[in-house]
Amino acid sequence: MSATVLVVDDEQDIVLLCRIALELAGFTVLEAGSGEEALTLLETACPDVMLLDVRLPGMDGWEVLDRLHALPAFEKRRIIVFSAHKSSAGRALEAGCRAMIPKPFRPDDLVRTVRSVVEN
């Protein structure tokens, strides 16, 4: 059974790119366009990895991370954050995230990072 990846980004085309790249690598992909949508989805689904954009309209990525404390079903260490700023890497790791993918990224880097998180 293939691993499931939840992609959270308000940019539809980024989500599309992630979906195509991850599906080609054999992952199942779930999509959310906002933090609220992601949290709603997590109430029912249990993805193996979550790709989370930090800059989201309304509830931003950091707030989503805080809310996830209340959801024992999902481990924070399975989260990878997208961030424009490399400076966010430290904060992401502090918040218990596993890795950070800086934008812009290459599809193979994305797949490699997701795979390494899934395998560990």
């Binding site: 940019e11 980024i14 790119l17 309304g58 934008k103 812009p104 990224f105 290459r106 599809p107």
Partner: protein
Amino acid sequence: MNQLERVLSVVETCVFAGLGLIAVLRWVRRRGATRGWLAATFGALGLVLVIAQFFPPGSRVPSLWVIKPVLGLIVAFPYFLYRFMNSFQAAPRWLHRAAGGITGVLLAGTLAIPRLPAVGQPQPRYLRVFALLFVAQWTLLAGAVAVRLWRAGKGQPTLARRRMRTLSAASALLAFVAVLSASVTKQSADATVSGIVLTVLAIASGPLFLAGFAPPQLLIRAWRRQEEQALQSACVDLMSVTDPREAVEGLLPQLVSIVAAQGAAVYDTDGTLLGAHGPVPAEATLASPAGTALGDNFQQVRLAFPNATLVVWASPYTPYFGRGELDLLNNLGVMASLALERCRLFQRERSTLEALEEAQRIARVGSWCWVPGTETIEWSTELYRIHGQDPATFHPTIAALQDVCHPQDRDSWAAGIQRAAASRTSFEMEYRIFLPGGHVRTLHGLGKVTTGSGGALEMIGTVQDVTEQRRLEAVRNEFIANAAHELRTPLTTLTGMAMLLAARRHQLSDATLGEAFAALGRQGERARVLINNMLDLSQLDAQRIPITMEQVPLATVVRRAQEAVALPVGKEVEILVPEPLSALADPARLEQVITNLLSNAYRYGGRHVRVEARRTGGRVILSVTDDGPGVPDDLVSSMFEPFTRGQAVTGTVGSGLGLAISRRLVDAFAGRMSYECQSPHGARFLVDLQEAA
């Protein structure tokens, strides 16, 4: 009695011989018509008296050849005195003729006298006539001299006036004595008494004459006290003036009063008038001071100094009677010359300082100077302005500067100063300060340590207000960061999709391929719009976008904008723009503004959008209104700044530059763009333009 007469006669002779000698010596030394006539006057009188000493009463009667020249000299005396007087100012013609005529007749008479009666003999008739004419001549001439000198003394400086009036009194006295002498007969005992009295009176006129034409220093000093005081106060005033005009204006009235001149003027070295007092003709120049305009009653006196020339219109009596005053004037002139030079240096220094201050104000650079160990730091005016401090109340010291320094920069600032002082090197620092109102300013300081006069350590430096530069740098950096951020999504999508398509397109379904190509198109377009907008914005900020102002029919331009932006499904737009309404703008750029406002309304607004235009007092107000949620409160203050972007309700996100560009374009049309929050909800953007006639 005879003994007394004899003594008095010797005294009288000595007095007038002395006067004659002094007058002749003065003439020999200084020459001039006035002194010449005076020398003749008293020389003649002295000579008569000296000759008389050789023929004491009771001795043999001198021969006619001795008596005739003596008589001639006696007749000449009042005429010489009159000519002395006349050398200042010509007498009326009748007086001049009368003086010449009567003196001529008397001289002729003197020559014609055949013989003199012996003692005890009755006087022949011709002698009585001669005596009568003699009395008339003396009365007329000495009287005229006395009256004219007395009257001319009016308005003269104290010393000159007293000299003139003393001379006047002496002339009157001598005339009185002469007239009486001629009329007293010498037979009675009374005659001896009156002879003594007359001799005493004649002797008394001697010191008066002396005081008049050669006053002793003691008398000069006493009579001139008032003018000397005026001179002193003028000198004191001169020491405190800093402006040449002020110096001249303060000086001239004093100067005029010291010599009792009619007027005075001061000219620069190049001949321009620095100032004048009294009725000095306005067109008077140094080359042609037009003194004649003041009439013949005044004489022009010029005094040249190293950097100024003084011209005084004095009375004709001044060169003779006011010689001392002219010396005072000369002293005052030298002082004034020094004061003028001081004023000139002061003004040059002041104008240099003003130029420096102006340069500092333009460059917004202040300067300072400090001797380490002393308390006060010297600041330029601009430095006070940069700090927002009042020079009257703020005293710059190290402690005071630490107080106004931003807490985060305080330690590094103080350490920088100390380090520079210790190592004697030049230094550079940037720090923030608080203005009295609480605003923060960023300052950039440069300085160096020098050895000042006396070998003491001295620090000097400049401080530039770089607040605006730093703000603009921050804006530019933020703009670059934002632009880079905005390009991340298009770049990620474009490169990522291209790589996937290049390597794995055979593994993708047609539907996915379609989605991928659509995404490529969308993000490519987004990057294109973003870059175009960024170029527009930078050109607008550099004022490099060509704006062609013309009469733009609003209905047409709104229609074109409406056609350019596709109406999203479920939205309605209402256009209320009267057909004849026109505004002054660049038509293509105004269309760009309306297109931006319409697409914003479709993207962020509610279901209904309304475009309206109305005329109000020479202005045209175009508005785009929607019934959406309105601009979020936290974005209202920054919505016209680049990269401020709300959350789109429908469609793609914008570049975040549209409103920034629109606002700058409307500014370029000399219009105004503003936002109004709608009740209960919604947004309205207003474009206020000048109506085209």
